[in-house]
Amino acid sequence: MALKIIASMCSGCSACEPECPNVAIREKGGTFVIDPKKCTECEGQFDSPQCIAVCPVDGCIKKV
């Protein structure tokens, strides 16, 4: 259970990084990546995954 940022769609705006309750998101070469080991899809933490809710690019963050 984890989410993935599609690097080609990521604008590198950094909005997702501070919103992640699991500190699973970090910058990598100008775009952002999610550590699948840390990602919980915000289950039990928030109504919806925080990174998807704040991301300005529709479809940039997907379930893997």
């Binding site: 590198g12 909005a15 501070p18 928030f46 109504d47 919806s48 300005p56």
Partner: protein, 525 residues
């Protein structure tokens, strides 16, 4: 017309701020146009309804004062790329098209890089008095990066004025922090005070860990904006409002926005045209939502006169702009170039330079008042006393008609009537003259940009553009070269009225003009 204006001498100015405030109080800033007693330049030199303590805060601020922008420089640092709302006029994938040049991602800086850049620029450009964080993104959606930058600057460069730009959503939670770092200018972008209008502009917001859409999203945003504005006013923080004019969506509504923000203490309102070229990929760009014409923009700005003071000289700069408003020197201060620079930040040297600039500016202001007091305009039989026309002016600064037509990258627009010449805006154009030769294909675009003007005042103009302007019904005028703009405009207008009275010319109303799309990216000459 006021001819016995009291002015503090240059030696008096050295006595400091008190003296300058007295000048403003006595002179009412720039009521230099005589007759009407109206300020000739909006926010430019301290209008009657602006208290001296506010004027003191903004007089060296190029973004708030039309006059100051020729003397003082500003810079933006792009440390805040994240945003907590989505606007239909913004495409986050390509940077914010209304704040920065579309299609070119600004070089994003860490707070440490930003501080180094500010010190490098301030050492190189002593006129640099203002540092702003205006995105791309929302400065307060990136509080850590924004405040880390501001904290370091407040310590290392205490003479630089700090300001931020925000959509207001996170503002109420961060007002304490804003006051802590001595940020004394905040700009809030407010496009509506009615969520029913707002839901056409904002598809969603991210608030309290949740994405809100539609009316509910706009309502939350509106309430947070109003609360934030009230909190800033209560703390004495100067707050400017930016509004994007979107024809058919909030054009009429902005008059109400102006009323509401004035009521809550906003000191300046900047109504900007929507930028919506399809290639920017914004929702409005893709749905064909057009931006306003020059006259549509002016009509809304005029309708707001008497409300919050209007700002008319905004050039919609890039979020990483550097230098005087008419130039962009950001290319000189890229990361690699800053790394190689030997930075000497000398506070005393900067202060001495700025004091000299301020003295020159006051001397110039007085010269303008003196020049204007000599201009007079008589009533003419057969000429409409209420007639007002627009004139375009080519200027390199110093308040004078001092630019060659072919060298202008923008024209200042003045509305002239009997006894008054008011700055009402500017129009950007492509340079006509490149490498000494006129670019004929540029001329139609220049005519489009100033098509609502009756005359264009220049220091010089070639025979070819002269004839084409005439053919388009715009009178090229070089008789008033190197005179103060208001005086030149009034003299031309008096002459124009004479010619109407004598039957030499027939007064014909002009049409509309096109606003050039895109953020201001002019490079230093």
């Amino acid at each position: 017309m006021s001819t016995n204006t009291t002015f503090v001498s240059l030696s008096g100015l050295k006595k400091g701020r008190q003296a300058v405030s007295e000048v403003i109080e006595l002179e009412g800033g720039c009521s230099t146009s005589g007759g009407s007693g109206k300020s000739s330049c909006g926010s430019s030199a301290g209008p009657e309804d602006m208290p001296p303590e506010i004027w003191e805060k903004i007089k060296n601020h190029p973004c708030y004062s039309e006059e100051a922008h020729h003397h003082f420089a500003r810079m933006h640092v792009a440390v805040a790329p994240a945003c907590n709302i989505q606007c239909n006029y913004c495409n986050r994938k390509y940077d914010c098209s209304n704040e920065s040049r579309p299609g070119v991602v600004s070089q994003k800086l860490t707070p440490d890089q930003a501080v180094k850049k500010v010190l490098a620029v301030a050492s190189e450009i002593p006129q640099m008095t203002v540092l702003g964080i205006a995105g791309p993104g929302d400065s307060l959606a990136n509080p850590k990066k924004t405040f880390d930058t501001m904290r370091q600057l407040a310590e290392t460069a205490p003479d630089i004025k700090l300001c931020i730009s925000t959509n207001g959503l996170a503002l109420p939670d961060l007002v304490d922090e804003i006051c802590k770092y001595n940020i004394d200018h905040v700009t809030i972008t407010i496009n509506m005070v009615d969520p029913a209008v707002g839901e056409k502009i904002y598809p969603w917001i991210f608030y309290n860990h949740k994405r809100y859409t539609g009316y509910e999203a706009a309502k939350i945003l509106h309430e947070r904006q109003m609360l934030g504005l009230e909190m800033l006013t209560a703390r004495g923080v100067l707050t400017k409002i930016n509004s994007v004019l979107i024809p058919g969506i909030n054009d009429e509504h902005l008059i109400e926005v102006n009323r509401e923000v004035k009521k809550r203490g906003a000191f300046l309102h900047n109504i900007m045209p929507l930028i919506s070229e399809p290639e920017h990929g914004t929702v409005f760009g893709l749905t064909g939502q057009r931006g306003p014409t020059a006259q549509e923009l002016k009509a809304v700005q005029d309708a707001c006169m008497g409300g919050a003071n209007l700002m008319r000289h905004c050039r919609q700069c890039r979020a990483d702009a550097v230098g005087l408003l008419g130039e962009d020197r950001s290319e000189e201060f890229t990361l690699d170039k800053i790394e190689a620079m030997d930075i000497h930040y000398d506070l005393d040297k900067r202060r001495a330079y700025q004091e000299k600039v301020e003295q020159e500016r006051q001397a110039q202001h007085q010269a303008k008042v003196d020049a204007l007091s000599a201009a007079f305009d008589e009533q003419l039989a057969g000429v409409d006393a209420d007639m007002k026309v627009l004139v375009a002016v080519a200027t390199e600064g110093h308040g004078k008609v001092n630019q060659h037509f072919g060298h202008a990258t923008e024209f200042q627009i003045y509305e002239v009537g009997q006894g008054q010449a008011l700055f009402v805006g500017h129009r950007r154009v492509d340079l006509y003259c490149q490498g000494g030769y006129g670019e004929d294909e540029q001329l139609p675009s220049i005519v489009n940009a100033i098509n609502d003007c009756h005359a264009v005042l220049v220091s010089k103009i070639g025979a070819c553009p002269r004839d084409e302007l005439k053919a388009a019904g715009i009178e090229p005028v070089d008789e008033y070269a190197h005179e103060f703009i208001e005086k030149a405009a009034l003299n031309w207008f008096a002459d124009y009225r004479q010619r109407i009275a004598s039957g030499q010319v027939v007064h014909v109303p002009r049409g509309d003009a096109r606003i050039r799309q895109g953020a201001y990216t002019a490079e230093a000459a």
